[in-house]
Amino acid sequence: MATTSSTSCPPVSREHALFLLREMLRIRRFEEKAAEMYSLQKIHGFLHLYIGEEATGVGTMQAFTPQDAIVATYREHGHALARGIPSTVLMAEMFGKATGCSHGHGGSMHFFDASRRFYGGYAIVGGGLPIAVGLALADKLRNQLRVTACYFGDGAVAEGEFHESLNLAALWKLPVVFLCENNLYAMGTALVRHQAQTDISLKAGSYGLASQAVDGMDVLAVEAAAKQAADAVRSGNGPFLLELRTYRFRAHSMADPDLYRPKEEIEEWKKRDPISLFESRLREWGLLTEADRARIEKEVAAEIDEAVRFAEASPFEPVEELLKDVSGAVKP
């Protein structure tokens, strides 16, 4: 499993380091606020938080350009933020407002932003993989040199669509980067209880695919591995399976009493909190001062407050438009 060995000379520029830290903090604070808004009943339905997994979303997203496509799951807040979708329209979406990134039709599980090639937001586990294969097929058929990033969890690996999609993408040498965020649980079911073979990266062998596993708590290791994977895919060698070994600090969703895993396990993992881990690295390397930290925290807080203000102030879609987006008109 790839990690960055802590060296004395920093492997990253101060500017980029602070950018990565800020991105992770934006996600952390956004999710904390979302949880708060859920308890205030501003947000309803299912809410799946990304807290603990920030390094995987932020690190991998550095490997993709605006021309690339992103396919994610219902646990996609972090990916949407890292992709550059404003936190305002994401919060508004969860508030069910017309200004939301999906006009309030999708909620927490179904974020979309066509302008940023963020193709959702899929809440049927495994359901996004064939979509990603198709997006990549479209690019291949038009010789467009861009890739599709496909995020999914360890639980999705058990679904038939995982198998069919990896075979199809490999068989047709399609430019897909498969990104498995292995947080060791599918809802309440531990990896060992849903996979006969728990090494997910190893499953690439069934499709003759290149793969790698990386420490998902180490944002620099994730970024490096994702860039290697994306480069391999861009070079036309077909898809790549990258397994990101991480952990969710919160329950599966706000509805989850979290009875299925020992508190000690959670505490152990929290010692490897991707944000504090990165911060201490940066301090070691002298790239982060208390002032930086305070400033970033302050700016992020302001952004999140603005997101809530925007969401609150936004209008609902008129109920008359209920049927507006079911079918389109035939263009002549």
Binding site: H110, T189, L322
Partner: protein
């Protein structure tokens, strides 16, 4: 007890009384069930009989079919009806056909529990009502318990059936409070229930919309309109006679179904009334269904998409006024 507890009590009762019974599905064990239905059963019955399955709907529904062929009495849980699409091949092509394809040599005593319906802002991949699709399939039975007593009794009745039985539990019903008589006679799942008798109009519904329909009936009563409310309980096989008897009396019917209107099971009921009670009708049978839109997340939109008490009331009033 609640609807949730009633299903759990029935599961416990079945697991205790029949060693062939086991529960299999995603997160039925350690998590306790996505809707906490099976909470505590793992401790009592162990991981072999309260079996957490990987995310593999097609395989574990198919495994339920195979285990039933092998002499067991599996109860498979599918977390949400939208996910059952992944198992539709096993359901339509295997579970429903094996008795017939084998010339009657095999039968599949499988019970599948599926959470269904909208109203919780779960949006377009978690909120639909596809019971009507299942009711189209010969070889299976489709139960839609709408009361706490039925949640208990129909599950036990399903386990006595030699063929696949699908039980649709509307997710908004789980917290519902009600009485269960665990000593009562087994339910005859072939009979619909008249939940309220009346002489002016027949309201036919099932599952998650029984509550709204009863409220509508109360509201109509204030208007002096006495509505009879029929809870179908079982969509396949359909208890047509109970519907026809009521219409012979009221001469009017409103069908309430949370499914999308076009191709809803309500259409089938309307057609059967047309075919069997045409001369009894004083007015065309009306339907109150969901708007034809993938379920929106926003509360006001979801509410607008689902059948409302007012819709039922005005449909009934309309029938009575138009054809007085």
């Amino acid at each position: 007890m609640t609807y949730r507890e009633a299903v759990r009590a029935a599961l416990r009762q079945a697991l205790r009384s029949d060693p062939r019974v086991f529960l299999m599905g995603e997160d039925v064990g350690r998590y306790g069930g996505a809707f906490a239905v099976s909470l505590g059963l793992l401790a009592e019955f162990g991981p072999e009989r309260i079996r957490d399955a990987p995310l593999s709907e097609s395989a574990f529904v198919g495994a339920g079919i195979g285990a039933a062929l092998g002499g067991m009495r599996p109860i498979v849980e599918i977390m949400t009806v939208n996910f059952s699409m992944l198992a539709m091949d096993q359901i339509l092509n295997n579970a429903a056909t094996l008795r017939h394809m084998s010339g009657g040599q095999l039968n599949v005593p499988l019970v599948v529990r599926v959470a269904t319906g909208g109203g919780r802002q779960m949006a377009a991949q978690h909120s639909h009502s596809l019971e009507g699709w299942y009711a189209h399939i010969p070889g299976i039975k489709v139960l839609t318990p709408a009361t706490v007593a039925d949640a208990y009794g129909m599950l036990l009745a399903a386990l006595r059936d030699p063929d696949p039985v699908f039980i649709f539990e509307h997710a908004t019903l789980y917290p519902l409070e009600g009485e269960v008589d665990e000593t009562a006679e087994p339910i005859d799942i072939r009979r619909a229930a008249v939940r309220r008798s009346g002489s002016d109009v027949t309201l036919v519904t099932y599952g998650g919309t029984l509550g709204k329909t009863m409220q509508a009936a109360d509201f109509l009563a204030k208007d002096g309109i006495e509505a009879e409310v029929i809870d179908l309980r079982t969509l396949r096989p359909l208890d047509r006679s109970t519907i026809l008897e009521s219409i012979a009396k009221t001469h009017r019917a409103v069908l309430v179904d949370e499914a999308w209107r076009t191709g809803s099971f309500a259409a089938e009921i309307s057609a059967q009334i047309m075919e069997n009670a045409f001369d009894d009708l004083d007015a065309p049978v009306a339907r109150v269904c969901s708007a034809e839109v993938p379920m929106p997340y926003a509360k006001h939109l979801e509410t607008a998409a689902l059948p409302k008490v007012e819709d039922i009331v005005s449909a009934a009033q309309e029938l009575i006024s138009r054809h007085g």
